[in-house]
Amino acid sequence: MTFPIPTTSNDDAIPVGRTEFLRGVKKSIPMMIGFVPFGLVLGAQASAKGFSPLEVSLLTGINFAGGSEFAAIGLWTSPPHLLLLAGVTLLINSRHILMGATLAPFLRRFPRSKALIALALMCDETWALTLSDAREREKHGLFPSLTLPFYFGVAICLWLTWIVSTAFGGLIGPALGDITRYGFDMAFPAVFLVLLRGMWTGMRAARPWLVSGVVAAAVYLLVPGAWYVPAGAVSGVLAAWFWSAETHT
């Protein structure tokens, strides 16, 4: 298998590409462990709705956005309601719009075709890992801050883990029960909290986060469905826009 190499450094691109890819693989390992229990549960739920393991892996491989897949399985009827499923998927994944925008400055150095492939594999965790890594490298003056091999190292590992674990969940299906009960569901907040710590630059800069958290929690409690994600994200960004007018001190 060959992987895209950064177009900016042609001379020693291949060794850099390989080490960067391996660095991405390594970086994704804790997250892969976090994926497995969720993948098993999603696969089991899908099989209860009549999905064959192949259909499960098509769903998780083509869509590759866990939250929307859990929602879709929950809403699944026979025959499926196509527009409802597409609409709910669009709503739940609307946060990707903001995520893609934050990656754009890093992706802009690459050929468009490669950026489009990279975006096809962008899930919450790939985005969060690569963005925090890119910002960390930027802070330390490392160039380029984001390489495609690193990105694909993270993205492909997580993508394959998701496909395989959901298909396996579909296979063993009902024998499984809800293993997230035993605390595995805490893996995701744990990951996200560590990433937030990495993005922390002080109380002042974190005020929009507080707005997001409070709004998202309130909307989650008051409004059914997945509206809390876009509501929280947008209100935080609006707050950041409002506060960014202050003179920088």
Partner: protein, 98 residues
Amino acid sequence: MSVHLTTFLAILLMGVATYSTRLIGYALLGNRELSPRAKRVMDAAPGCVLISVIAPHFVSGGPADLVALIVTAVAATRLSLLPTILIGVASAGLLRLL
């Protein structure tokens, strides 16, 4: 193993919906240079998305979940990724047994 046509169609539509959300932000910002103010906003945006996604965890569980979440948050301020995950999973699993 079989793949039903309507199932495949639904999956394809979901995939199109998801891929479009992945493209829009990149396409809108594309090659534009950001103003300093917009850059400051974009610096805050990732944290806003992350915290919005996990916000329900803070308000949906019982006291055991909340304590486990606080333990995890404290761990996150001083430890790296893997130990934090282990502490989070272990504390949630143990506290729910109590």
